[in-house]
Subunit: 461 residues, 2 copies
Amino acid sequence: MTELSPDLASALQARFGVRFSQGMAVREQHGRDESIFKVPPPAAVVFAESTQDVQDAVRLCAAHRVPVIAYGAGSSVEGHLLAVQGGVSLDVSRMNHILAVNAEDLTVTVQPGVTREQLNEHVRHAGLFFPIDPGANASLGGMCATRASGTNAVRYGTMRDNALALQVVTPQGEVIRTGTRAKKSSAGYDLTRLYVGSEGTLGVITEITLRLYPLPEAVTAAICTFASLQDAVQTVIKTIQLGVPIARVELIDAHSVSLINAYSKTSLRQAHMLLMEFHGSPASVREQAETVQAIAHEHQGNDFEWASAPEERRRLWAARHNAYFAAVSSRPGCRSISTDVCVPISRLADCLLQSVDEVNASGIPYFLVGHVGDGNFHFGYLIDPDDASERERAEQLNRQLVARAIGMGGTCSGEHGVGLHKMDFLEQEAGEGALDVMRAIKQALDPLNIMNPSKIFRLQG
Amino acid sequence: MTELSPDLASALQARFGVRFSQGMAVREQHGRDESIFKVPPPAAVVFAESTQDVQDAVRLCAAHRVPVIAYGAGSSVEGHLLAVQGGVSLDVSRMNHILAVNAEDLTVTVQPGVTREQLNEHVRHAGLFFPIDPGANASLGGMCATRASGTNAVRYGTMRDNALALQVVTPQGEVIRTGTRAKKSSAGYDLTRLYVGSEGTLGVITEITLRLYPLPEAVTAAICTFASLQDAVQTVIKTIQLGVPIARVELIDAHSVSLINAYSKTSLRQAHMLLMEFHGSPASVREQAETVQAIAHEHQGNDFEWASAPEERRRLWAARHNAYFAAVSSRPGCRSISTDVCVPISRLADCLLQSVDEVNASGIPYFLVGHVGDGNFHFGYLIDPDDASERERAEQLNRQLVARAIGMGGTCSGEHGVGLHKMDFLEQEAGEGALDVMRAIKQALDPLNIMNPSKIFRLQG
């Protein structure tokens, strides 16, 4: 379906005026993300500015049994927002108001189009911050939908842990609330956690209440370089097993460091590195850093290079976050196929090092970064999208990696979500029984199958 | 339905032999909890010893459309395990094996009948502990089912945060797994969090993978007494707002302290008190305690009394945990109606103090304890169960308290669950729309309505 019926188009036009568009440029902009899939764009785009807008758009689409795909910042990587069955892209990026900061309760309520950087900018003056940081300046609605996490999750958890309550527009156009501002609750089914990670397949998130944290009294970042990946990874494993409350611990392999240096004009030492951050009181930060330095020394790590000034730290994390763009720009015309496995920490070295050997043997260019404190790491296979054989070889590497991770008690997706790209992997991981439960929930809540259809799992097993 | 059909009884008898019982003593033992409801006992009890047992029992009951109510330690307080529609109590307390301790990953996999004390006894030698502590020596299956928390939740979260994955027998008798041992995942709907807190209404939990924590290097407990409840509560609010990572902070009002002293033969100073625990490195514990002591001084708190020796701490927490029994035994023949609201921390003083005034004015005897760091507290109204008017006055106090908490952005249940007792409150809190979503999920997953029916919500709105 590449066009809406005239009835639906005119109803949406009447309701939304210039905020309804069937123009090709707008549709194409809403029809691609960072994945490698080529899918025709949505038939139209509606720009919602309120919960009422979302309700009306959903109701009109439901009446015509037309798919609705919520769109935030477009930064998803697994094809989540692609209109594989056509339909309407419901752009909520203009719903970008911060509705209430409750500084005393360390909570904030936002609309779904607010980005994480916008939120942090807003709450900084109150001495607060929101830690979840997937790298991209993603929308908080999208981050809820994919159960995002990123660099700070090792200490602060993921969107699962930090979303207290949602307002959701159901596939029938009803508005529900999934929780309160209380820090914990045993009142009924945990609907918040059901919608977090449901990738737009059960409803459209229209408000989010999040936990905030006091800005740490002291923050220090440090780089530690290693001659071998094995040593870097073992340092992380020990750090986690000792319970050090490290706020960030990112692995970048030596090759990726060189890509970053070239792209970001940095002069990081070209070696396997851990990029760390410590939060707490000055004494606690010192104590944590000393503990990790001692562990690193046992594993032939070099002395820490420090970055304590905010500006220095910002540069460092910006360089880390640009790893993806650095890598993609290192091979003109390439696209990145991103892996996302997450394994129990004791298996991290095995899983990662075997996979490095495999990708090295394949000859496919790649970069490697990881939120290794959580046991989560990403290869980006840099492939020529027009070279079917190369793409297939990369996907084969991905399959081997996922099978290995699942065999080690891990998951195919630590934080990116399933989207289109990992549906087979999810089948492998969850098994038919658990998938049937997911299908039953989807069919019960969205019987017309209009909410971001054909994502996460196939309705027929 | 007080008796099983002869067909089902003989099928269960044939399958389970002496592990199937229709004897009145066994049934009655499985037909009561700590709630005030008087309901006829289940028609029979099956003692399951394996997942296969659970599957077979569920399948036989499903074939006869007979309710199945999972039973762990019997310590629930809201009528969760009462056989309001008759049926079979499925006792999983003999499924009490610890299946795998993965010390390097800080995870453990247990059967549902393992109790929290049994688990901690088992993992202590590995330098690990499981923090969730609702007071009672509850089964971990039951703690998952009610999304329990308790004294350590302010630092370590609740069962929601600490259950990594479950094995569940569905109402159709199928076995599913809801997750992996990876610390985080974005792979599909969060089924773990759906079953955690579903109070046995969606399936029977047969295995649980939990997070463990390294035993803290240093642990110190302290008591701080206050002349006014207001000062005690304000001390807690400030402590939380400052982000002090306190491990426990419990409020006990002066009257409840006197009940505890009488029952536990302790000699705690009879004053409103905060009972605290600090975990961390020696330096961090010292720093945390100094911060809180300074806050307490600002609010006219007395100097901390310390309990650093393990034996001393154990006695202190045992006394706290016995508050319930101390209170109940202070009025012979009474039953306790327990409240469980949880509010945003900024509203804790308002909510708690208004409610204290109300219950004092009512003349109903009570005790008051609270996991105040989470904004969660419990009144126990000590009523004569045969005095309908007194019971109604207590329920009226409860209703006023819940309405107040919900009005403040809080929840009717911080940790006990809904069971039978809070169904009206949940309606008030969640609203019809969210309840309809819960109902749709229940009906999709348990279309015969055999899993602990008539709990949490009514199927018809």
